[in-house]
Symmetry: C2
Subunit: 225 residues, 2 copies
DNA sequence: TAAGGTGCCTTACAACGTAAGGGAGCGCCA
DNA sequence: TGGCGCTCCCTTACGTTGTAAGGCACCTTA
């Protein structure tokens, strides 16, 4: 019989692209060697010819997405250092919004693709070019945290469905919550997240991201002078 | 024969304490049901009588450490809002330094123990008591990120051993790196981390933590007025 | 003393990553 | 032309993980 028509040969790139697509479609926990192989119409062990092990796969996935970040920040120029970094970080954010599992994955990696270093190098270049000392640039880099990659590392992911702020707590005891957490409930009542505001998880909506970003940028600008 | 003298009955608390101890001693990846049971001189399935599943175990571990954070921040009072929060966050940091796996674990949780909400509630209380609007308090909370818990969510963990900044790159090509990453290498040359500086991972040393913290606190104070 | 709950154990299974080796198809060179 | 060796994928199997299902000993209480 005729072999499957679409029997393109495997390759590292094809595998990584399929891995990203799988994670996008079904979440990072669905990214297992067997399932990925299925998607590629291949047996699991075949993947090991192109990638040493699963760690290498995940590293490659990170590398792939970081490449997206890199090209997203290519066309930033003009303006002062704040405007440039701001634009760059927000561009990176668009990439992360396409791959919401990426922040969590990054948290589990222990090594980092070389391209990230190039990226951070350019940021330092921007800073020292704007008059930052290396010491201040260094601290600025730390203060930014993951913002150059377009997100804020969150402590907690959003609960799966429904607004379950508490674990087993039913909806009825909102009153009890208001008593136990008076300030939080008042705050939330006054500050419901705008639904149109694109969100990466719970506490990384667009407006919060930009608020924190500007807070840092302005604070650094003050220290620079 | 006499039964094991130390045949204390199991309990949720005892299991959780053993789990924290195991993670402290051998890392979070050593925390498997079987190994934890071994430490307790018990069979793995026995744990399931006290905890629904492993998720519940991990949630309990988080809860246990957060309780440590809570009591660590009990005796902060006096000073303005900045001093109080600063002291509180730094106290939380001491707890995290004892459990360096905790930041990473928190990143994997999707639910959060109720006690954390009480903690954040008190922070909001401090802020609004100092004249913050709910809106600004809300944004401040987001900007703080994980600092109330005493750490900065890092993008990357430190590589296992040795200063392997690159993956397979040998030591020889420092020159090549200096060429590819001129700003970073200059910066690192000028800014070697002080060894005495206690570090949670790569980019969360004490001085960086305090720098970022003060940057945020000062920036918020300016917005408050 | 019989009943029933409490607390731990035995057995078993599915899903995972992956070690070890096999074999089909190809190009290359004598 | 024939055989060698490389590339690429597959088959089989193993150890480790979390955990479902059920059993058995002990204590309490009626």
């Amino acid at each position: 019989m005729a072999a499957k028509a679409s029997r393109k040969p495997l390759s590292r790139e094809r595998v990584l692209a399929a891995a990203v697509a799988l994670a996008d479609a079904h979440g990072i926990q669905a990214l297992t060697m067997r399932r990925l192989a299925d998607d590629l119409h291949v047996e699991a062990m075949s993947l090991y010819y192109h990638l040493r092990d699963k760690e290498a796969l995940l590293d490659g996935v990170v590398e792939t997405v970081i490449a997206e970040v890199d090209i997203a920040g290519l066309d930033v120029d003009g303006g002062d250092w704040r405007a440039r970094l701001r634009e760059q970080f927000l561009a990176a954010r668009q990439v992360m919004l396409r791959h919401p599992w990426m922040p969590g994955l990054l948290g589990t990696r222990r090594t980092v693709p070389a391209s990230v270093y190039a990226y951070y190098d350019s940021i330092v270049g921007t800073l020292v070019g704007a008059g930052f000392s290396y010491r201040l640039a260094h601290r600025a880099l730390h203060a930014f945290g993951s913002m150059p990659l377009g997100f804020v590392q969150e402590i907690f992911s959003p609960a799966s469905a429904g607004g379950s702020m508490e674990d087993e707590a039913a909806e009825a005891d909102l009153a009890a919550m208001a008593e136990a957490l008076p300030h939080l409930t008042s705050m939330l009542a006054a500050e419901i997240h705008d639904q149109a505001d694109p969100t990466l998880g719970w506490c990384d909506s667009q407006v919060e991201f930009e608020f924190t970003l500007d807070l840092l940028l302005d604070g650094l600008e003050r220290l620079r002078r």
